[in-house]
Amino acid sequence: MGYFVTFHWMWLAGAALIGLAMGWISIVQRGTGLSKRAMQIAAAILVVAIALSASRVLGPAMSRILPWPGRFGYWLDLGLVMLATYFVGCAIGSWLRERMIWRSAPRS
């Protein structure tokens, strides 16, 4: 995985920047965001995707549907790594914005 990340570092950096920006914006965004139900569905999809990517055992099983994980597996891995990077970027962005707001808020 180390080589995989190194090879795609520019794209991951892009994902991190998007995440940083999204995290920065999300703090001051109005509304409550995704519903609890939508969050649960998204989490389930993510778990399945991670399981597919992480498990080599699933390779032969998947071959019944697809000839071989092949490029689909590569794209899935790339997407998950980018998503993870995005989330890290979001977390940092949100944390920095939250911290900045907290500092500039009037103290009573």
Binding site: F7, W11, G33, L34, P69, W75, G79, M82, A91
Partner: protein, 464 residues
């Protein structure tokens, strides 16, 4: 935790540009990633001995196809590819090269090409065989159609190296090995090539056996050409060794008394059995022709030319049939030369004298049997006798003084009669020929020396 969850709920809009970036990254990177991954896997396998090794990447998955030379080698190659950073799954399309039974290998040569085919146990041996063949092939094309297989006999490498060396000795042919059994077919390039190959095969490693050696040698050629204008007999072709060379030249000098012998013979092994006898007898036939050519190809004798008179044609054919070694075959394409013009007795006498000045009619020691080396001279004497149809010819026999005078007289008479009989058989009229024995009564030189005695032992022709 609640705060973080609140943040996460609001992060979803960023997934849209992230998805676009992901698609872009997949579009741009897939081919580059696959090329990089396959390249690194191939480089990692560089030191493994594999045949037809090929690594293909499909995303993060690799397909390794290769022929390994052992199960250990196959497992090692798979482990190496599985350990390549970034690889996810390895699809195994490797196999251990099949075992050949029997283990067959061959080398073939034709006019323009050397071809190696059959089974070979490893790339190292294959390389050595190819190198050996290229070093021998010169400008000829070299084709390698060998397939890897297990099951080669012990010391296959050494045996095939020797067999490849023998290919260079062939003009065309094939050397083949089936397990430890060797067969050779084809034509040797040079005279003696067949023998050289047989010698080299004795150095094959233990366990290998030649089951068939059908190498043929090029024909062993001996040629003689009698040119009456240049007064030469030119000998070309091959003789087995210096001793036989000397024997043949000496025989030629005895038989061709008035021609110069031009010796262009070369020594080479590979002569057919009975070569010396066959050549000497065939040269005897040529010596009886006024002009002609003799070609001996292995055991086939071809004699062509003009005899001095008609009866000689049948005599020469008959002698070739009976006197050549067993297994030899003769073809005589002989015609009689046109009769020479008649001359008066004086000229006739002069012609006899000229011929006898060049050589003399020889007999077996103390016998009245004409030496066969004198056949050429006798034919010339008969031709001359036929040119003077009105003359009576006395054939006189003479001896030296060794032995009893009466015995010498009788011997000289018998020898003279033998010559007359020979001439009559050849077609000369008997009524014009008379044999007279003079014994030791008319010496032409001193009988005190061997040289003088030799001169006194003679046949003379007297035209009356």
């Amino acid at each position: 935790m609640r705060t973080v969850l609140r943040w996460v709920r609001k992060w979803w809009p960023g997934l849209i540009p992230l998805a676009l970036l992901w698609i872009w990254a997949a579009w741009m990177n897939t081919a580059a990633w696959e090329t990089d991954l396959a390249g690194r896997a191939a480089a990692a396998l560089k030191n493994n001995v594999l045949d037809r090794a090929n690594v293909e990447a499909d995303g993060r998955d690799l397909t390794l196809s290769a022929d390994a030379f052992s199960e250990e080698g196959r497992q090692s190659a798979l482990s190496i590819v599985e350990a390549v950073p970034g690889a996810r799954l390895v699809r195994d399309q490797t196999r251990v090269v099949p075992e050949a039974k029997p283990f067959a290998w061959s080398g073939e040569r034709d006019v323009t090409r050397f071809t190696l085919a059959g089974n070979v146990p490893s790339p190292a041996i294959r390389g050595r065989l190819d190198d050996a063949l290229r070093s021998l092939a010169g400008n000829a094309e070299v084709a390698d159609h060998m397939e890897y297989a297990r099951g080669a006999p012990q010391r296959f490498d050494a045996a095939t190296q020797i067999l490849i060396e023998q290919l260079a000795r062939l003009s065309s042919g094939k050397v083949a090995l089936s397990d430890s059994s060797i067969t050779l077919t084809g034509m040797a390039r040079d005279l003696g090539g067949r023998e050289a190959i047989a010698d080299a095969l004795k150095k094959l490693p233990d366990g290998f056996a030649v089951t068939e050696n059908a190498i043929q040698a090029p024909p062993y050629i001996f040629q003689a050409n009698k040119d009456p204008v240049a007064a030469t007999v030119t000998l070309t072709g091959y003789v087995p060794d210096n001793n036989i060379h000397g024997t043949i030249i000496a025989a030629a000098r005895r038989k061709f008394f008035s021609e110069q012998i031009v010796d262009n013979l070369k020594a080479s092994v590979g002569s057919p059995p009975g070569f010396t006898q066959g050549v000497v007898e065939a040269l005897g036939g040529l010596s009886r022709l006024s002009t002609g050519a003799l070609t001996i190809s292995d055991t086939d004798v071809k004699l062509a030319g003009d005899a001095f008179y008609d009866v000689a044609i049948d005599q020469i054919r008959s002698e070739l049939r009976t006197d050549l070694p067993q297994g030899w075959h003769a073809t005589a394409d002989i015609t009689a030369k046109p009769p020479a013009s008649s001359v008066d007795p004086t000229v006739c006498q002069q012609l006899f004298a000229e011929l006898l000045a060049k050589s003399k009619i020889r007999f077996e020691s103390a016998k009245a049997t004409i030496d066969r080396d004198s056949a050429g001279l006798l034919d010339r004497m008969i031709e001359t006798a036929m040119r003077c149809p009105t003359a009576a010819i006395e054939v006189g026999g003479h001896t030296d003084t060794d032995g009893d005078a009466d015995a010498n007289m009788a011997l000289s008479q018998r020898r003279a009669q033998a010559v007359v009989d020979y001439m009559v058989r050849a077609g000369a009229p008997a009524d014009r020929l008379k044999a007279v024995g003079y014994g030791e009564t008319e010496p032409v030189a001193s009988n005190d020396t061997d040289e003088g005695k030799a001169q006194n032992r003679r046949i003379e022709f007297l035209v009356r």
